[in-house]
Symmetry: C2
């Protein structure tokens, strides 16, 4: 059987790794796309490489796009990443770790690649339940991007094929995501989620991303291999 090509956004984190495993389980031939965008946790790209090697992809491309040029986020500038003791302390507003238009930029580049691959499927691991409140993680945004994408491309205009943005995690809790990934053989030891790692690449355990991840493992009744010893 010839597998359909799909572009999968892979950051090296828990969500995108699970998404890649789901794309594989659904029979797609994955083309993994990662970004070196000036993130302070650039170490996640090492995880992305390990993850794609472990799960298997057709090709892995890392695009350099320096979002520090624009600034405006704790993840790409000198603004400090906030730390908290537990999830209940997270701000109810959009946090400073939000990177302006990041998912729009990433999906646009996934769209460019999908068009040259003649692929009509893109996977992104956005999650609207246990997430940080980023606007570009919500179903409304994804639907609007899909509609725009179908007007932006050759295939869309010629009516040959309709682009579909897959968001298999969007309605799942972090615990459900982890259990789904475990059932598909994901090794979460390989993944990196921390926004503010130590110089040696160890997760801080107290940024939004670490807290949400930790809560997910606890609720799933499991230990997070990336946080062993905390």
């Amino acid at each position: 059987m010839i597998r359909k090509p799909a572009v999968v956004l892979v950051s090296g984190g828990l969500d995108s790794t699970t998404t890649l495993a789901i794309a594989l389980s659904e029979g797609y031939a994955p083309y993994a796309l990662s970004f070196n965008y000036g993130q302070r946790h650039v170490i996640e790209l090492d995880s992305a490489r390990k993850v794609v090697e472990s799960l298997g992809v057709v090709q892995h491309v890392v695009v350099d796009i320096d979002l520090r040029l624009f600034g405006g986020s704790a993840l790409t500038s000198s603004i400090e990443v906030p730390h908290h003791a537990e999830v209940s302390e997270l701000e109810p507003t959009i946090p400073v770790t939000y990177v302006p238009a990041r998912n729009t930029v990433f999906l646009s580049l996934a769209l460019a690649w999908s068009e040259t691959l003649n692929a009509s499927d893109i996977f992104i691991g956005v999650n609207a339940l246990d997430y940080s409140g980023y606007p570009d993680c919500r179903p409304g945004f994804i639907g609007a991007f899909e509609r725009m994408a179908n007007l932006a491309t050759k295939a869309g205009v010629e009516g040959r094929q309709k682009l579909h943005i897959h968001t298999p995690l969007i309605e799942l809790t972090k615990a459900q995501i982890i259990l789904r990934g475990m059932s598909l053989g994901v090794d979460y030891q390989l993944t990196h989620s921390c926004y503010d790692p130590t110089p040696l690449g160890r997760a801080c355990g107290t940024c939004d991303s670490c807290l949400l991840r930790h809560k997910g493992f606890v609720e799933a009744g499991l230990k997070d291999p990336a946080l062993e010893g905390y």
Copy 2:
């Protein structure tokens, strides 16, 4: 009077230069955005620099984003740029010079910058009359991008301000664009439109872009300063 900030996409070509002049004439404080994306006519960036210096902008950022990674276009790969004797010979289908999802990628990065500038206006010189048939130059695409953008960003979600994509050229012929630019003092000598320039940066005169530009000057009853001697 404090001028409103606006991000203006400036390639160094005729259309985007006229668009920048229009943004200025409408009282915006322009932030010019150009891309070094692996285009074979990278010389257009020299024109972009001359244009922004001549017209005056608050800041000019050139983003490096290598779209050659994905291939699929005569403008970024080894596919040959087609040459014709006149406009009537241009292909009625989407030509090989189309760069997959280019305007989506460029507008996404303009959106990222506008968000950090707290700007709610983006200008792009797309044109749906005398153009090459690219899907991402049509009004339907621009409208869909605007709707998506308003769901993608902090300002959109918080309802603080609505992002507006300005396309002042979209319904103009090339001749009308040129006359509009001349009335605003644009020096078209500074601009570069050719897809396939000579090694010394001279316009070829026979690619789609040169032909459409030439036709525009003829219809406006003017001489194209970039094509003098042809």
